[in-house]
Subunit: 371 residues, 4 copies
């Protein structure tokens, strides 16, 4: 089987090269780039030297010769490739935000500043968060005709997997859910810029786009879908930049439903978690484990162990911990993913595996690195 | 004037050595340590070699010969030194949690597991967050008799300075305030441990003590005090460990009072901040600037600039930004401090300056490092 | 096939677990540890949670049930296991220094402070640097009877692969070869210690054991062997600690043979490399490529590209560049390895592959990570 | 006194702002920049916000109004400013390489590709490494007329201070001196570039410009001068990039004079340092201490303690250790400096102090940071 990657010179594209060149079902890998056509991937990424020395070609020829196409392009430029693949019935897995909002063009336009070029196409695309949407992905693949998968944003992936059980099992009551996330610098992509210049970002933490990051509507929409709610969920999302290469750590504050609320031990000042809190935390922990018991890539950590981005590096895992806060009114869920794998290229390959009926962890069963 | 530091071998003690040895009012610096008595500070910290080569002595002799005593000891072991200083009317600035809870022994015991040894002393101690409590610190100093200053915790300092204007000006409505913080590894102290072993914490983010960190009651009490409320404020506090040396970045989610709430631009899905949101953000920004206009160590950043721990390194500054979230219901305040300076040793020196009537930034006017 | 790892709780052992649990020829993996017997590997390394959840057993039972045994033990404690395996004809791959000096007990004793317990065993062991010693490794395996492979030290691996062509092709003349290396902090192992405490080693470079590191005699012996010299080569080796997790970068200064020496462009002051220098550099570059053309794990980088430890991370590669210095008298060779892979666990697996006649890169063909 | 900085927007310029704005003899600080004229320094470096909020002006007006001018410009563009200052008799301290080669225009041209525009000026300039050249700096200042100080390169500073005693006391014999250095990323300056993009350089070590770095002739010339030799010294210099912000660690391999050579303990293989080696190391240690006994910024570390860049951060210190290698033929000297302070801005201020007859550590007596 031949896989093609449009826009392979960026970080997400190169991570796809890393994963797909060892994927047991991929016989040939083709890659394209507008800026680097004619160069080899090892010219750009010397780590590939002598190993995966394929040449970047033109996107047109690439599509024609591929059985599946991945697009790792900036937002707003890939629709034409999607249309071409759709017509040729070549599954198209898009890593940009272009197809993440289905027919809600208004929201897309409000945040990304562009109109849809082929509105019809968006109605046919499927949002590719497998744990949430697996049946729809499979259905689209079986339907015959083209398949367009919108690979989720990196932050929405970590946030959604953390919240899914709480939202769908009624652990969440109502009110605003807060998502506070920290991302490694690879999230900023390959192009050098002041914010990612080593002396400016090393040994420092900073938030960015506070109260106005584009992933907010995607997170809100996912939460609504998970809850089965007609309306979008009220969400606050704050991204931070942490001085590390890979990883997103997300800490979610989810207001508990009344039945899950606990009384704190003291009315005059905060106290360490009460027995009731610890007990209900255990119950929620079990519910989370049960909820995800058939998923290969979500790991509900044992009580007392919290996720660390360093423990999911290079893997497609999403590690999750749950804990009711000492005040008894909120569930604090923490998740860790590798932003380049489960947050981008790994999840795209997971989507390909589903579309083609491969084992879902095919090519994705690498162990998380130790350090 | 002679300053003494009990427990100078730990990180907070050594940072005090760094600051006090350049303080224009301190003529002589004396230091003590139980474990390293007889050694020089440069034996422990070779960066001091040839510069500040003083010898660690016994705590008893140190107190007798000092005009002011700083204690950088573990929780629960310093009361006896406090009592001794109090009797001898030597101002005592305590960096442990022992005196942070005044007469609320129950809360202290619940979180730190120990009873007060000299309960009377706690009623006389003053909580040393100058921006909040300056008059009480001054009053205690003028009173005659002993002075015991409880230097605040590192997290409570960053969180409290971020929330103070919102709480005291009625920008905060009611409901739980969430404090999500990330600290550099120096926060863990000097003793090697697995969590701070370079290969385990480098290039990784992780939370710890989720829902149960000891700084929670201190933050809650401060918030209550700032608001002028009789009851403690409901607070959730989540600390994280970030792969950097110095700094605490705190992101606070503060529910707005009704008059400050804004309507979002859309009822069907989140939208970028509306004009109303941007305008009210500007007003709150001005209120914050006005509120802190006489403070030397709080910097309200210009709109669009967010705090970075890397920009307050080695300074006593607390950088703050404010922003109403796109949902229009919460104020997101971000603060950055150097955990070793404003979060520990610098603030202790600031307290000393107040107690002795020196300029408040005496010895503390270093510029933040560039990188 | 069943592989056993004695001492699996340390970093080298755990890296073996990571590699061997995905090795296509290993059906069962057994692990032991004195300190952690009865625990699972995921108790110690939570990154393995839910993936490789095997239990640490006793070393005795482990040996009895294994087809090959890896020992990742401190120096001086493993001989008894080696003896047991040798008698039972179970190939034993030792990652300590114990068997690296063959019958030269005096040198071992001088640097490691211990005598051999089973001197006979050392005469039968083989030094497992495959690029240097492949035939002897194969021969030992074919011989029948036990096989003991001494896996090389991390520094000697990077240094030896860098120097091998220069020494065996007569590019080296005579005089002292200098090896200046920088290692990531994982080289210090899993036990927390001040030197590896994040705040002490982060954002800092420092040498250690200058002029007296134990890897010096191993490097010297290898150089002598490569050159075919009867005497050990004069060597200076200086290790440094760099603030990174994985990797060893070694810069070697190799005095050129007379025929390779170049005249500099100026006698009055240094000049940029002359044409003669650039030309001879190209010739040596080609000789290096030719020399290693059948090796899978050595990559001679294109002229102008220098090795970076970040480009061999998680791979068994040793990247090498060559360059005659502007003074025309020395060859500067730089090599980069992942200290945990080619410098330890990966090379051990490579040795196992040779011993058992597997493809040499079996289980080792992971691509180097991008970042 | 009014100090002016031409080119204050770059890292070296901004570090000068940091130091000079706290210098007790500087009353007014003026800064200029071609690219940022009209902006404040805090617009570019938010760490200065609210503290040192001066505006970048035009270089012409700056010179006219200054008592001393620092130039932090790229190589080859500052001669015209130097000429102007020289005529106006305003001391000019140049941080570029333009004046580092005196009248040796050929060497400058060979490495920097440009001719001198005002050759006469170069004969009047003084190389500003105070420990080497203090008398000439003082003499130039006393002479009357203009003063041009060529502030040394960062690498030559660390290398020269490490070698000076060995060269001038005859500890060095003859043969090539090797300088192997690792620099923090700030050495690459403020402009974002791929090599300094966090994901590309973090957690990785790499050399650059092997055998051809421009600092080679400056190092060689200094060594020759120190030795009192008529000819330049044969030197090999290899710079590396280490994943840290500040600092240069240099490891020098200096061939010993015959009287200093030691016999190793064994002729058959390397041995740990012999008694003779340890004893001569002690003697050289004492000679180094004696040699530098009147210098404020060189610290000869106690035996067994090696320099770490992390221990000189933010200080003007150069830490040095000496050690004869186990082979008995070479002295290994290691030095650590903060590349932005002793390697650039701090040394420039030290030069200003000398020119104006201030205490040499005036404004430079900050303690090295702990972490």
């Amino acid at each position: 089987m031949i896989a093609g990657i449009i826009g392979a010179a960026g970080y997400a594209g190169a991570e796809l090269v890393r994963i797909l060149s060892k994927h047991p079902k991929i016989d040939v890998l083709r890659i394209s780039s507008t800026s680097y056509e004619g160069k080899t991937i090892a010219d750009i990424y010397p780590n590939f030297f002598g190993v995966t020395d394929i040449t970047l070609e033109n996107s047109k020829t690439l599509i024609a010769g591929s059985d599946v196409v991945f697009a790792a392009l900036p937002h707003g430029v890939g629709e034409v490739f999607a249309a071409e693949c759709f017509e040729s019935e070549i599954p198209y897995i898009d890593m940009s935000a272009d197809f993440r909002f289905d027919y809600d063009e208004e929201t897309y336009k409000a945040w990304y500043g562009k109109n849809y070029r082929f509105p019809e196409l968006h109605k046919k695309s499927v949002y590719g968060l497998p744990e949430l949407n697996r049946q729809r992905i499979k259905a689209a693949a079986k339907d015959g005709g083209g398949v367009i998968i919108a690979n989720p944003g990196c932050y929405p992936t970590g946030a959604s997997l953390a919240a899914f059980p709480a939202l769908s099992l009624g652990i969440y009551g109502n009110g605003t859910i807060i998502v506070d996330s920290a991302s490694g610098i690879t999230g900023g992509g390959r192009e050098p810029a002041r914010a990612y210049h080593f002396p400016e970002c090393s040994d420092s933490m900073t938030p960015y786009k506070v109260g106005s990051h584009r992933h907010t509507p995607e997170i809100s929409r996912n939460f609504s879908f998970m809850e089965g709610a007609a309306e979008p969920r009220p969400v606050i999302f704050t991204p931070h930049l942490a001085p590390m290469n890979r990883g997103i750590l997300s800490t979610l504050y989810i207001p508990l439903a009344d039945t899950w609320k606990c009384r704190p031990d003291s009315h005059t000042a905060p106290r360490p978690p009460s027995n009731e809190i610890n007990e209900k935390t255990s119950r929620i922990h079990r519910l989370y484990k049960e909820f995800y018991k058939d998923e290969r890539f979500t790991r509900i950590l044992p009580p007392g162990i919290f996720p660390a981005t360093g423990r999911v590096r290079f893997s497609n895992f999403c590690d999750i911990s749950v804990c009711i806060d000492q005040n008894g009114e909120n569930l604090v869920v923490v998740s860790a993913i590798d932003n380049m794998v489960k947050g981008a290229a790994g999840q795209a390959v997971q989507n390909m595996n589903i579309v083609f009926g491969f084992e879902e962890d095919c090519g994705l069963n690498t162990l998380p690195a130790l350090f």
